[in-house]
Each structure stands twice: as structure tokens, then as C-alpha cells.
């Protein structure tokens, strides 16, 4: 399968960072380091009145290695140009380590501690001033040309129904195949939503050892969800015609396309080279903090922490979410949903059911990826969607078989 010949060359551009990566956006991230600092941070973002100031954060007061690593990855994501950290003051989050990490990345960074600043209004005013200075500091940075082999693209599905696995998901798979032919790094995920696909997936791994790691990580997911008492299956999935978890899995799996699987990564691991990667989002060890991902945005945030510049989100029932930091493209699987919610949908993959070709829709997504990297906003971006969620988790580092040498 070769890249569509009729595809025009779209001039992508990115902001070059000190680590060599390029960002397709240049946003200021305002990060609260405990829920107690959330309101003040939200006010700073709202009163900054700019689509390029995004709110992220971690709500917990107890320390968590995963949350710290995620925040480090997110605050130094290539789409982020500068960072304002907002702490209450008494929480255990290692704010100095995060501040040092962002500073070392060459980005402007500031830290406000509400208890030291003197409360809500004083922190808000200081935060607005800090954001203004940061925006001025990064406004002069000029983007440079960017190629497909510098892009990281994640895919996720949400609100799946009986059409998802027939239209939107295989169309994204087609797009993934073409991106990977061009040495882009593509990530698919939610091992808990791939239960039932473990053997087929393992057979696509580039080494038998990686195949065994993939099977083991799906087993881990099945065990985890069994203990939690629920699989990743929502009532809306059933209303839309899906009956079982493994049926939903088979549909979700088709987002991965047909390329060989080059590696198995965990949240925060950045794919080392072009190819297809599976992201293991299910925590290691005994279940302890709750469901692996309590909603779609938790998965999106993990894909972004792995370096994803943009997210391809397929939906049958109709999701409206976007994300902080990286733009989200909505690929709608169901033609009836598209008609009802077209404002939120970037691509109508449901037309495949009415006779359109999978390749045509795949090409439309492939071109849209490049248009977004050229500066066009996605619909969720234009509508102001900047959802974000980060919760407690625990992971062990990946083993040596997970990323075989090329």
C-alpha cells in the first residue's frame, strides 16, 4: 500500500526546541500542582483570554512518581513554549524538581506559591503578569519547516458503536500506514480495549520477544479490569450495537492499520524512531488507585506525554472533547451522529457505509494531519476544548524486549 499520489504537499512547520523536537503549537501551560491551586490557575488561564494559554495539573496531595514524570513530559512537550507552575505551598508535589526540569529544557518557567504570594488575588495578579511576560518572550520565536518523520501521532477511540470498527477505525489505520511509510511515529493504545486481540497483535510484532511482551501486557490488562469489576465497556457502546468487550476490541484494534508493531511503550516513553507503537496504559502491580483511565482524556494525556503532536480521535456515538497541549481531530464513524454533531466532527467516516472508499477517508485524515501541522485548527480547538485529566498510577520501566533495535 503506497502513499496516495494525489495528496498535495502541505507545508508543515514547527517551533524548534532545545532537545531537537519541534512543536506544531506554541502554548503557555499553566500547571496547578494540587487541586487546592486549581481555581487560581484556572482564573489565570481564563483572564489571559488567549487560546494559547492552556490549563494542566495534578490534583493529588500525596506524592506519586508517575504524576511527576507525566508533568515533566507534559511541561516539556514540543507544543509547549513556556510554563507557569502554581503551588498552594504545603502539598508534596516536587515543584522544585519540575521547575528545574523545565528550566533545563530552555523554556521560560515561573513558579508561584499561593501561601507565599499572599492568597488568591495576589497570586492571580502575579500569574497574569507572568503569563504576559512569557507570551511576549515566546512571541518572537519563528517556526521552521517540519517533515512527517518529525511527527508523533496518537490515536484513541471514545463513544464507540457498531460503526466504529467498520468506518472510522480502519480509515485511521489506513492513515497510520501512510504516515509510517513516511517514518512518522504512530501510537495506538488502551490494552484494556484490546482484550481478545492479543494473539493477532503479537503476530505483528517485529520480534517474537516483543510479541510475548504484548500478550503479557494484555493479560495484565484483563486481570486488572477483572479485579476492578468492570471492563472498558460503556452503556452507550451497547446502545450503538456493540455487545461484548472483545467485539469492541476488534473494532478498536483496526485503528492500528497493518504496519508491523515496532515497540511496546508506557506513558511518558517517547518512540525512538518511525514506526507503530503500542502504549500500555494499565498500571503495574496490584490494582491500587482505581480504574486505569477513568475517561478518554486520561488516555489522550498519556499519548501526549509520549510526545504526540496531535491525536486522531474516532467516535461513533459522538464525543466532543479536545485536549490541552495537543490538538484533537475528530473522525466520526456513524453517519447519523455526523449529521447531528457535525460542528464537532472534522471527518465524516460514516460515509463509508453509504459507499465511500476507505482509502478516500484515510487520505482525508492523512491530509488533515498535515494541515493541522501547517497551523490550521481542528474543530475541537476552534470550539475551545482543552480538557485535561491526570490521576494516580504506578508503573515499572519497560523491559529490554519492548523496544527492539531497528
Amino acid at each position: 500500500m503506497s502513499v496516495p499520489a494525489s495528496s498535495p504537499s502541505i507545508p508543515m512547520r514547527g517551533w524548534l526546541r532545545k532537545d531537537g523536537r519541534k512543536g506544531i503549537r506554541n502554548v503557555v501551560a499553566v500547571a496547578y500542582l494540587v487541586e487546592c491551586a486549581h481555581h487560581v490557575s484556572r482564573m489565570i488561564v481564563q483572564k489571559s483570554s488567549s487560546d494559547d494559554v492552556h490549563l494542566i495539573g495534578f490534583p493529588g496531595c500525596y506524592p506519586n512518581k508517575y504524576a511527576l514524570e507525566m508533568m515533566k513530559r507534559l511541561c516539556t512537550h514540543p507544543n509547549v513554549g513556556a510554563v507557569l507552575l502554581v503551588s498552594l505551598g504545603c502539598e508534596s508535589f516536587n515543584r522544585e524538581e519540575l521547575r528545574r526540569h523545565v528550566h533545563a529544557s530552555g523554556r521560560p518557567v515561573d513558579l508561584l506559591v499561593i501561601q507565599q504570594a499572599g492568597g488568591t488575588s495576589k497570586t492571580l495578579n502575579a500569574g497574569l503578569e507572568a503569563v504576559k511576560k512569557m507570551r511576549a518572550a515566546i512571541a518572537g520565536q519563528q517556526p521552521v519547516p517540519m517533515a512527517l518523520d518529525e511527527l508523533v501521532i496518537g490515536t484513541v477511540c471514545g463513544g464507540s458503536d457498531g460503526t466504529s470498527g467498520i468506518t472510522a477505525n480502519p480509515a485511521v489505520g489506513r492513515c497510520f500506514d501512510w504516515l509510517i511509510e513516511n517514518d512518522a511515529r504512530c501510537i495506538f493504545e488502551e490494552t484494556g480495549e484490546l482484550i481478545g486481540c492479543e494473539r493477532i497483535m503479537a503476530s505483528r510484532a517485529i520480534t517474537p520477544e516483543l510479541g510475548r511482551e504484548i500478550e503479557a501486557c494484555v493479560d495484565k490488562a484483563a486481570n486488572y479490569y477483572r479485579i476492578m469489576g468492570y471492563g472498558s465497556f460503556a452503556p452507550g457502546n451497547a446502545e450503538g450495537g456493540l455487545t461484548t468487550l472483545e467485539e469492541k476490541s476488534m473494532g478498536a484494534y483496526s485503528k492500528s492499520g497493518s504496519s508491523p508493531i515496532s515497540g511496546l511503550i508506557k506513558p511518558g516513553d517517547i518512540p525512538p524512531r518511525g514506526g507503530l507503537y503500542l502504549l500500555d496504559v494499565v498500571p503495574d502491580g496490584e490494582p491500587r488507585f482505581g480504574f486505569p483511565n477513568i475517561s478518554d482524556n486520561a488516555e489522550i494525556v498519556e499519548l501526549i506525554a509520549c510526545g504526540s503532536h496531535l491525536i486522531l480521535f474516532t467516535t461513533g456515538r459522538g464525543s466532543v472533547v479536545g485536549s490541552a497541549i495537543s490538538p484533537v481531530i475528530k473522525v466520526c464513524a456513524n453517519p447519523d451522529t455526523y449529521e447531528r454533531m457535525s460542528e464537532d466532527m472534522d471527518v465524516n467516516a460514516g460515509r463509508i457505509l453509504q459507499g465511500a472508499g476507505l482509502d478516500d477517508v484515510g487520505r482525508e485524515i492523512y491530509e488533515l494531519v498535515q494541515k493541522l501541522a501547517a497551523g490550521e485548527p481542528s474543530n475541537s480547538e476552534a470550539l475551545g476544548h482543552q480538557e485535561f485529566i491526570l490521576t494516580y498510577k504506578q508503573f515499572e520501566p519497560i523491559g529490554p524486549a519492548c523496544l527492539p533495535a531497528a
Partner: protein, 106 residues
């Protein structure tokens, strides 16, 4: 955005996703009593089936595996006859049971 022209002509209301499958997927809403073609034979669908839902391509016995995309997606709780709706009431996961909520909200 480039819109592909949609071919005119009548598209079959049921999709066979893989030759091994024992279910078919509704390409659009199908009314009760509507006549559809299953493997070359015309057949009246006993109950309405919504877009994206499944119906039996042939009689399927209780405990038999259901195949979609050529892959097992669960086992039958009860037997079904050809043309019947295959869903929560008669098909179950071989991994983790599915959950539903109270219908309504419209």
C-alpha cells in the same frame, strides 16, 4: 474538505465483514418485516435492527462462538434463528461481562 462523491444505486442493508462470520451488521436502520437478502436468499427481518447492530447470518446454537471480522466476539447464551437480533440478551463476553444502564434519557 474533499467530499468523495457517494455512488448512487441501492446499497445492501446488511454487511458481511468476513467470509467466516456468522453475523451480519446493519449498514442502516432496518424496519421489522423489511425484506433483506442473506446469502442470496430473501428473508423478512423479524424485529427492527438499528444501524451498527448485528443479526444472525444463520441459525446459531447456544454456547456457540460468534464470529465478527473473522474473530470470536463471545458465545451465545441461547440459540438464535437466522435473521434474529444478536445482542446483550443472547450473546455474552468470553472475557469480562458487559454493563448497561437503565434505558431512557430522551
Amino acid at each position: 474538505m474533499t467530499e468523495t462523491p457517494i455512488p448512487t444505486g441501492k446499497l445492501p442493508p446488511l454487511l458481511l465483514l468476513h467470509p467466516d462470520d456468522n453475523i451480519l451488521v446493519a449498514r442502516r436502520d432496518i424496519a421489522a418485516g423489511e425484506r433483506v437478502e442473506i446469502d442470496g436468499e430473501t428473508f423478512a427481518v423479524p424485529h427492527a435492527v438499528e444501524l451498527g447492530h448485528k443479526l444472525a447470518r444463520r441459525d446459531i446454537a447456544a454456547d456457540a462462538r460468534v464470529l465478527k471480522y473473522g474473530a470470536p466476539i463471545g458465545s451465545m447464551k441461547t440459540a438464535v434463528a437466522r435473521g434474529e437480533h444478536v445482542h446483550m440478551h443472547n450473546l455474552k463476553s468470553d472475557y469480562i461481562p458487559s454493563t448497561t444502564r437503565e434505558p431512557g434519557g430522551h
